[in-house]
Symmetry: C2
Subunit: 204 residues, 2 copies
């Protein structure tokens, strides 16, 4: 529809709120929306693939990227480094793709400072109990690690008011539909449509 | 989901752009979204039903409503009076329903002055030629009336930049989907979700 520069979206959520599944479904459903894959220094977990789940790089390479200011945002999470490459994201946006970054609260703060216009979405679990249940049922983490995640989640959900939109992940299909709606609505916003619409007005 | 006051939407479009069909489909698809039916002093056209297409009232009754300041907006369109009843709309919003007003550019200006927060959408025909074709193929109007409508349409599309969102009605299903997305996205907006989300945060 539009030959505009792409739109930038951030989706954040506490660990266990289901953001990865949500965003994977989202990009399946929305043409022209791409994930800017994060880089990480941690080793792949069972079932994770380099270039799909993350770009897995050595800690040395990650630190060299930090030194070159390559990251739009990066963070040390439980001793592992995670980051979003600024030039990867810029390339997609310049090509007219809309881009979604799946990053945490701290990362979102860094991107807000560095990027221009962007739309931010916080995915909320329906309650603490449901988040705890999801973490325990899916995670291979130790009891200690789970407790630590829940504690961090408590800090993260408190940051919801820094975001433009809130999607409560009560039911997967409905939550994906709400995320998709946020993307389609941003595409229909006057500021994004102005060029196309001016061309239509000129036919009158 | 929410016990909040409802959200108010305006959908405007030049005559022939298909706004009535679009909005009828929209309210079929979105639970909790209601049309605040307009009042008009004109006589029903063939196939139109009182209380469904419009509330058809006498000119005397319409003028009495104007005198009582009953209308959120009203207009004289080609000699017929059209208006949106403020108390009808308020009742729906207070009950927590989201409300969509299908009104013209002038009406939208009046509502912007009088109502508080609202979200406005302009439905654009894909081009002048397509609008002309649609008007000629569906309308029982005289050549003069069609020319007058097209001229008015030219003024109306020029007002697109007064609106928050633009939906180009190129293909009905896609256009309804975009309208629906705008409604769902507004529901997910932080300001609307704050109460619900604060309740979730308190479970942590």
């Amino acid at each position: 529809m539009s030959s505009n520069r792409g739109l930038l979206f951030i989706v954040s959520a506490p660990s266990g709120a289901g953001k990865t599944t949500l965003v994977d479904r989202l990009v399946e459903q929305v043409r022209g929306l791409r994930i800017s894959r994060s880089y990480t220094s941690r080793t792949p977990r069972e079932g994770e693939t380099d270039g799909v789940d993350y770009n897995f790089v050595s800690r040395a390479r990650f630190e060299a990227m930090i030194a070159r200011n390559d990251f739009l945002e990066w963070a040390d999470v439980f001793g592992n480094l995670y980051g979003t490459c600024a030039s990867d994201t810029e390339q997609l946006l310049a090509a007219g793709d809309d881009v979604v970054l799946v990053i945490d609260v701290q990362g979102a703060r860094q991107v807000r400072q560095r990027a221009g216009v962007l739309t931010t979405v916080f995915v909320m679990p329906p309650s603490f109990d449901i988040l705890e249940h999801r973490l325990r049922s899916r995670s291979k983490d130790s009891e200690d690690a789970i407790r630590r995640r829940l504690q961090v989640a408590g800090h993260e959900v408190a940051a919801f008011s820094e975001y433009d939109f809130i999607v409560v992940n009560d039911e997967l299909t409905a939550a994906v539909d709400r995320l998709r709606s946020i993307v389609l609505a941003e595409r229909a916003r006057l500021t994004h449509m102005r060029g196309d619409v001016e061309a239509i007005v000129r036919t009158f």
